[in-house]
């Protein structure tokens, strides 16, 4: 087993333990902290996939911005930190069954498919290529601009929704 594979298992364990704790944690605030651990594990996986830009974006956008936003929302809605309310609705067993069936099907598909992979080395300028593709009219310039507009509209809309009165 190579060092890379050992690190894969470490980060995969962080991700999955964190994820399971997010959906089962009794206190919502603890769930938010476990979510940060999951984000960290996923950032480690991005490093293993040699995508350092996404690892950094994961730390800033997910652990930083989204994590803090969720913690703020939990604190702004104090009543939901009440402990006595049950965590799951009455169809939790059906949801669990569905999730397990989905996992078996997806896992079987991923396992039996003979993926043709090339372990080509990453080019030095791969981030440069991504940046060019995002502003290239032949590439992703239009979706990139639409994504920018979507973000601005979402933030204005969020501010409108929470405005008092």
């Amino acid at each position: 087993m190579t060092l890379q594979q050992i690190f894969f298992f470490v980060f995969a364990a962080l991700t999955l333990v964190g994820g399971l704790a997010v959906v089962t944690a009794r206190k919502l605030f603890h769930a938010a902290l476990w979510l940060l651990l999951t984000f960290f594990g996923v950032a480690g996986l991005y490093v293993l996939l040699e995508a350092p830009f996404f690892a950094a974006a994961q730390l800033f956008v997910y652990m930083g911005a989204i994590g803090i936003l969720i913690i703020f929302a939990i604190m702004l809605t104090r009543g939901i930190m009440r402990q006595d309310a049950p965590r799951f609705n009455e169809q939790w067993w059906l949801a669990g069954l569905l999730a397990i069936v989905l996992l078996v099907v997806l896992g079987w598909l991923a396992w039996q498919q003979p993926w043709t992979t090339t372990a080509a080395p990453i080019r030095e300028d791969s981030l440069h290529l991504l940046g060019l593709a995002l502003v290239d009219p032949e590439g992703f310039a239009l979706p990139f601009e639409v994504a920018s507009v979507l973000l601005v509209m979402a933030l204005i809309g969020a501010a409108m929704i929470v405005k008092e009165g």
Partner: protein, 102 residues
Amino acid sequence: MVPLQWYLILAATLFCVGVYGVLARRNAVAILMSVELMLNAVIVNLLAFWRYSDPAVVVGQAFAVFVYAVAAAEVAVGLALAVSIYRSRQTVDVDQLNLLKW
């Protein structure tokens, strides 16, 4: 080198954990957190396929960027809705939110 299948199965597991959270949790903020888990699983899948096919083709990375943007928009609007609902109903328990139910 880590086989591609390991990443795919990890992403599938994370996605299914998220599915369970969305379907089974009662709290709206917990449901949003589970959606974040599912989106993270999708990005892991996209980047794994990008890395294990030709890394000079940036489509996988570009899609991952768009998933990031959509995730940020989703969480901003979703949490704003949760705070707004809490103001008017004093709860974010989705079992008690039946205003649109006849």
